[in-house]
């Protein structure tokens, strides 16, 4: 059981980290609470299902194509629906909900409400010390670590990364320094959606695909970014691991755990929030108007 907890905890933690870091990035750079974030994740999983099975493309083509399509959709949504009404934060919030609903309904109409599965990209498993780990898990964790490392490098070492971080700190001043904040936000949206899409295509073989699969991860991603501190990449990463392990431990050790897993994860988030209102690594929003 301990080994199961370790494997599933790391696995879920990696996926949640991908989603939470993306969510955190776009909140930081554009102050958008993107409730459609996990809908992009779902869209990517379905895109890989469609390209890989209905069109019978090889995974090497289907996966990058699926990610590209989802990123293009994300940037389109940002430019058409979010950028023009950016000052009306509540309207943007509801627009993201509406976008998620549109994705859900389009998928429901095109693919129907059946549960769908995607077969593994790689088959087989290794069993070091008697723990059975399939290659799909190893591949997913490898891709996730690589993507998170790449995002971290982009943020820390490139001009774009400096621009994103500075507009996250103070959008107005960044604008006054001559940065095109709208374009930076669009680039951030692209990175954030790409992270969600990569997570989506990687877990498509591990999860069951259905049109409401975006709701449960959304609640957890929100809890994670709040726990870790809004806008903090490190916080999102650590928060994802904490909540993923809590979830897995509850499921494996408690009776009725499947009903309680989200409730207990959220209760722990609340306890941490009461002690530290800005999350583990968040910046305190006191001065923000």
């Amino acid at each position: 059981m301990l080994s199961d907890i370790l494997v599933y905890g790391l696995m879920n933690g990696a996926v949640y980290a991908m989603l939470a870091v993306g969510f955190s990035l776009i909140f930081g750079a554009a102050r958008i609470i993107n409730l459609a974030h996990t809908a992009f994740f779902m869209l990517a999983a379905y895109a890989v299902f469609y390209l890989g099975f209905s069109m019978a493309l090889h995974p090497v083509i289907a996966i990058p194509l699926a990610i590209l399509i989802v990123v293009l959709v994300g940037v389109f949504v940002y430019y058409v629906f979010m950028e023009p009404i950016r000052e009306h934060e509540t309207a943007v919030l509801i627009i993201t909900v509406a976008v998620a609903l549109v994705f859900q309904e389009v998928i429901l109409i095109v693919f129907g409400g059946h549960y769908r599965g995607v077969s593994n990209i790689v088959s087989g498993y290794v069993s070091p010390m008697g723990i059975r780990i399939s290659y799909q898990y190893l591949l997913t964790m490898g891709v996730v670590s690589f993507s998170l490392l790449a995002v971290w490098l982009v943020l820390m070492k490139t001009r774009l990364g400096v621009a994103i971080r500075s507009s996250a700190q103070d959008r107005e001043i960044a604008n006054l320094m001559g940065m095109n904040v709208a374009r930076i936000a669009a680039a951030t949206m692209a990175i954030s959606v790409a992270l969600a899409a990569i997570a989506g295509v990687m877990v498509a073989p591990l999860y069951t695909l259905e049109p409401h699969m975006w709701l449960d991860p959304l609640v957890l991603v929100l809890a994670i970014v709040i726990l870790g501190g809004l806008g903090s990449i490190k916080g999102s990463f650590i928060g994802a691991l904490i909540l993923a392990f809590i979830e897995v431990i509850v499921v494996f050790t408690m009776p009725g755990g499947a009903f309680l897993k989200v409730a207990i994860a959220l209760a722990i988030m609340l306890v941490i929030l009461v002690v530290r209102p800005e999350g583990l690594y968040g910046v305190y929003l006191e001065g923000e108007r």
């Binding site: 627009i95 709040i226 009903f259």
Partner: protein, 343 residues
């Protein structure tokens, strides 16, 4: 005679001068007189549910729109009151006259319980923390299916009133009264403090006002009105189920209010009375129903990001820059200070 003359004068001077007031009066009259035109059960049912949801949406607007304490878990108050009402009615056999106020009181207590730990949280942190409460409660409900009815909920509750038309008038009447009270609250001195807390909490605290007291008051008031809506809804549908605590229920209130116009109260009512019947009419579109609904919300908010009532109000009326009194758009001069409107 004199009374009638005064009444006519009042109508002419205070209502007919402003197009939005005419619309509001027409809306209230239509709601009250509709049963004389049609006795269709279906239409009355839809409008009664819309009225109950309007109380719910307006209570969200009171807390989140006015005080700025954005809550993503407003279904908590609705659901707690619904379950309390249902259990009191079913287990103890009390009538709706007692169960609905008691449900609302429990919702107020829950409001305090949620409000106290959330006082330190701000902005998105508060919103996402409140999101957690109804989900946690839902977990508890699923773990004790014997007492709370589990996934099926509690059914077999007595009706709100014996006749559908009585239920309709009860729902619509309470909606009009409660929303009027909420609107008056936001217009009172307390309302001004609420506004100020949203705009700049530190400045309010620096002015010697106990913001904690007012924030808790807002949580309680909002919980009370949402609780009444929850109780009414339970007795109307005669079931209390876990869907009343779902994330979707909380977000429905937010979608309606922001669609109608946030921080107005009447915007929340308008949002519900536009969107809820629309969703029912769209049943004709079968599987495209939710897609069309989502697209309507998306496109309307894209064009009118401040909400539909605020958008229409600003098109129909202009505020005088000098005397701050609203005027119909087609006037030549402002109605109080008589300065030229286009000069």
């Amino acid at each position: 005679m004199a009374v009638i003359q005064m009444a006519l004068r009042y109508i002419r001077k205070e209502i007919l001068v402003l197009p939005t007031r005419v619309i509001a009066v027409l809306f209230v009259l239509t709601l009250l007189l509709l049963p004389f035109l049609t006795q269709d059960m279906y239409i009355l049912r839809i409008l009664a549910i819309a009225a109950i949801f309007a109380i719910f949406a307006a209570s969200w607007d009171l807390l989140s729109g006015f005080v700025g304490q954005i809550s993503f878990g407003h279904a908590l108050f609705f659901g707690v009151a619904a379950y309390t009402t249902a259990l009191l009615n079913l287990r103890l056999g009390w009538s709706p006259v007692i169960t609905i106020p008691l449900g609302a009181l429990v919702a107020v207590l829950v409001g305090l319980l949620v409000g106290i730990p959330c006082l330190r949280l701000k902005g998105p942190y508060l919103g996402l923390a409140t999101l957690a409460f109804p989900i946690m409660l839902m977990g508890i409900i699923f773990v004790f299916p014997g007492f709370f009815g589990g996934e099926l909920g509690i059914s077999g509750i007595t009706r709100l009133a014996a006749l559908r038309i009585h239920e309709y008038y009860l729902a619509v009447g309470l909606m009009l009264v409660l929303c009027f009270i909420m609107w008056k609250i936001t217009d009172s001195k307390i309302g001004i403090i609420f506004h100020a807390i949203r705009e700049d909490e530190i400045a309010v605290r620096a002015s010697g006002i106990n913001t904690i007291k007012f924030k808790l008051l807002a949580f309680c008031l909002s919980g009370f009105f949402a609780g009444i809506a929850g109780g009414l809804f339970t007795h109307f549908l005669r079931i209390a189920g876990p869907s009343m605590l779902a994330v979707l229920m909380s977000f429905q209130a937010i979608i309606w209010t922001i669609f109608g116009g946030i921080a107005t109260i009447y915007g929340a009512v308008a949002g519900v009375f536009i969107l809820y019947p629309t969703l029912e009419i769209l049943r004709a579109a079968a599987e495209y129903r939710m897609l069309i609904f989502a697209l309507i919300v998306l496109l309307v908010l894209r064009v009118m990001p401040e909400g539909i009532t605020t958008f229409i109000r600003d098109k129909l009326e202009r505020e005088c820059p000098r005397c701050k009194v609203r005027n119909a758009f087609n006037r030549k001069e402002f109605r109080v200070c008589y300065s030229n409107m286009h000069g």
